[in-house]
Every structure is written in structure tokens, then in C-alpha cells.
Amino acid sequence: MKSALFIEKADAEEVHTGKDGKEVKGHTVLFGYLVDTTKCIGCGGCMLACKKENDVPDGQFRTWVERYVYYKDGSVHVDVNTKGTFAFTELPPLDAKEVDKAFFVPKLCNHCVDTPCIQVCPVGASYKTKEGVVLVDYEQCIGCAYCVQACPFGTRFINTKTQTADKCTWCYHRIEHGEKPACVDVCPTGTRTFGDINDPESEISKALATNRIDVLKSYLGTRPKTRYIGLTAEVV
């Protein structure tokens, strides 16, 4: 049986073309992202940082935090603080007597290996970099919103400022210089981990190797590179 989460790892001794055009021996970079939902406190700092870093318009989200509340009567309620304020203070407080348990699930683009969004883009404006990051060419996008319809995770939107499709880029402008995405940098609890999954010594590789890992909607076979610790069946 082959795992639904399987991603072909690069050979450590592989020869490839480096940034300067010369041949380099060593593994190619393949970025991955890990969300440990058991650590998230729902502060929303990542949402604010993302908004600031990437100039995301109000009411649109490259990343967001969902709150799952399990009530004692068996019902499950999900909500998101969409006001762009700190934590979930905008939403009505929960009554501790009624609530069985509650937790947070941060969401962002899954940068899938088999992407529905790249498949449907009529002009090839959605593409994947060699590091496995799914990006949108804002100069080429015609704004048809086909990819917005196709993404099963709701991570794409038509940016009201640029009038093109937009999504999480894992802060490509930062990671190409060796920095971490803004959301990973600001997270106070270490919920979010980012790094090279081809490098066995990286923080994310070690975390992926030592934890029970799941992805969102694995039944769709998109093989997301954004992976999760602590998902439950109710998380969509």
C-alpha cells in the first residue's frame, strides 16, 4: 500500500543546476509546512502578520484560524474571526458549562503536489516553482476565478485590490532569501513550522518523522505539502 501523503524525496547526491546556472551536487530544496494544531492558542497573530506582510485586503485571507467547538449535546460548531482583530474577542464568548472541548486549526494554502488550481488555470498563470511552491503570476492572470472555484480548501480568492487570483505564497519573497514566512516568524507557540523536507536535518523533517501526520481532505488525492498534527474527523 502506498501512502496518500507520499512525496518523492530528492536523492541527496543528485546533481542539479544552482541559482548561478552552475551544476551543484546535493539535494534540491522542496519546501513543506507543518501545523501543530495542539499548540495553537487562536491569537490570530499569524493572520495579522500575513495581512501586513502581503497587503491582503480586508475580508480576504491568505491564512486564517478556525475554532472548532464541541458541545455537550454532540453538536460541533466552527467559526472564524474575520474582523482582523486579535484573537476571537469579536465573537460571543463560549459558556464553559455547555462546551465539551474546543481547539483551533490554522489554515493556509496547502501547496498540493497534484494541484487542481494549476490544472484548471486557462492561461497558465498558476504555476509551481522548482521548490514546490504554488504561485500566481499576477501579470498573466485574467481573473476568471476558475481556480477559486477549483480549490477544495477555500484558500484562493480574487484580490479586490489587484483584481487577480491571490493566495498564500508561503511568503516566497522571504523564503527565497532563506527567511521564514511571516506567519511562522510571529507564531508565539511554535504551531507553524516551515522548512526543506528534502533536508533530513531540518526542523520540519524531524517533526514530520516523529509525529502522526495528516493532511486536509486526503480523499481528494491532491497530496498537500501543508501537513497537520492533531486533526480530527470533523476538521474540513
Binding site: 485571507f61 478556525e66 494549476i118 490544472q119 484548471v120 492561461v123 485574467i142 481573473g143 476558475y146 480568492f157
Partner: protein, 166 residues
């Protein structure tokens, strides 16, 4: 079972769905195009005589609607000035990319059929002078030949080209 799937909406979808009324208008118009085209074809191609009174009108209607069926799609695009990117740099794994070519083929087919079916009328309308007859002269393609030769004679191209020939 997903107990809350019906209640929860992803925050990016709270602003409304991405494909709206303009996308719905397009299949409505193409429905009219296809229906009229079938009626026209039943007479012109398959010889159903009972459709003779409406066959020509149906063909004209099919062409007219087809010429403007993409207008709602153009209005739907958030970057309409880049609409022709679909044909210049198509991504063939996208169902939408093939659309530009299939649609162009359909429109061309309709235009050619219109020219052939309405040929007698076009030739008739091309007689005489004026802007309207000039338009029909262009559409008639062949009728123009005589006039074009007269026009060339008038320009006296031989006299102009003679020094070049030598």
C-alpha cells in the same frame, strides 16, 4: 459524516461565490445559439422542408447570438483586457483553455454558412452605389472583381510600375 459542513463557510467564500450571473448568462445564450443552429441545419443539411419558413431566420439568429455570447464572460473577467491570453498561451489541462478554440471554430463555421446561404441576397444588395452596397460588395467577395479591375485601371498601375519593371 460531516456534521457542520452545511453551516461553515470558508472565510474567503463569505464575500459571495466566485462565479455569478454572468457565467449563468453564457450557457443561456449558447443554448439559443445551439437550438437555432439545429433548426437551421435540419432544413439546410437534412432537408426537413417543414422548417423552410424559419431556417434562414434561425441561422441569422444563431450567428447573431454567437457573436455576442462571450460578452457576459468578458464582463465576468476581472482582467478583461487579458481575455485573449486564453488563445495566445493556453494551458491545455484546463477545460476553459479549449473553449477559445472551439468557440472560434463554431463562430467561423456559422459565418461561412451565413455567407453561403445568404449569397443570393448579398449579391442582390451589392448592386448600385452607396455605403450599404459597398458593405455587401465586400461580403459578396466575387462580385467585387469587376469593380476592382476598373479601380486598378483608373490608378494606371502599369505606368507606375513600368520604370520598376525595367
Amino acid at each position: 459524516m460531516m456534521p457542520h459542513a452545511g453551516e461553515f463557510i470558508f472565510p474567503n467564500d463569505m464575500n459571495g461565490v466566485a462565479w455569478t450571473v454572468m457565467i449563468v448568462l453564457y450557457p443561456y445564450i449558447t443554448g439559443l445559439v445551439a437550438g437555432a443552429f439545429v433548426v437551421a441545419a435540419l432544413y439546410h443539411v437534412f432537408g426537413r422542408k417543414e422548417l423552410a419558413p424559419v431556417a434562414r431566420f434561425a441561422l441569422a439568429m444563431s450567428f447573431s447570438f454567437c457573436a455576442f455570447a462571450t460578452l457576459p464572460l468578458l464582463l465576468h473577467l476581472h482582467q478583461p483586457q487579458r481575455a485573449f491570453f486564453i488563445m495566445f498561451m493556453p494551458n491545455f489541462t484546463s477545460a476553459m483553455a479549449g473553449f477559445g478554440f472551439i468557440y472560434s471554430f463554431y463562430l467561423t463555421l456559422l459565418a461561412v454558412e451565413i455567407l453561403l446561404v445568404f449569397r443570393s441576397d448579398i449579391v442582390e444588395m451589392a448592386q448600385g452605389k452607396g455605403v450599404r452596397s459597398l458593405l455587401y460588395k465586400v461580403l459578396s467577395l466575387g462580385v467585387l472583381r469587376e469593380e476592382f479591375m476598373d479601380f486598378c485601371d483608373h490608378l494606371n498601375l502599369d505606368a507606375i510600375l513600368e520604370p520598376v519593371k525595367n
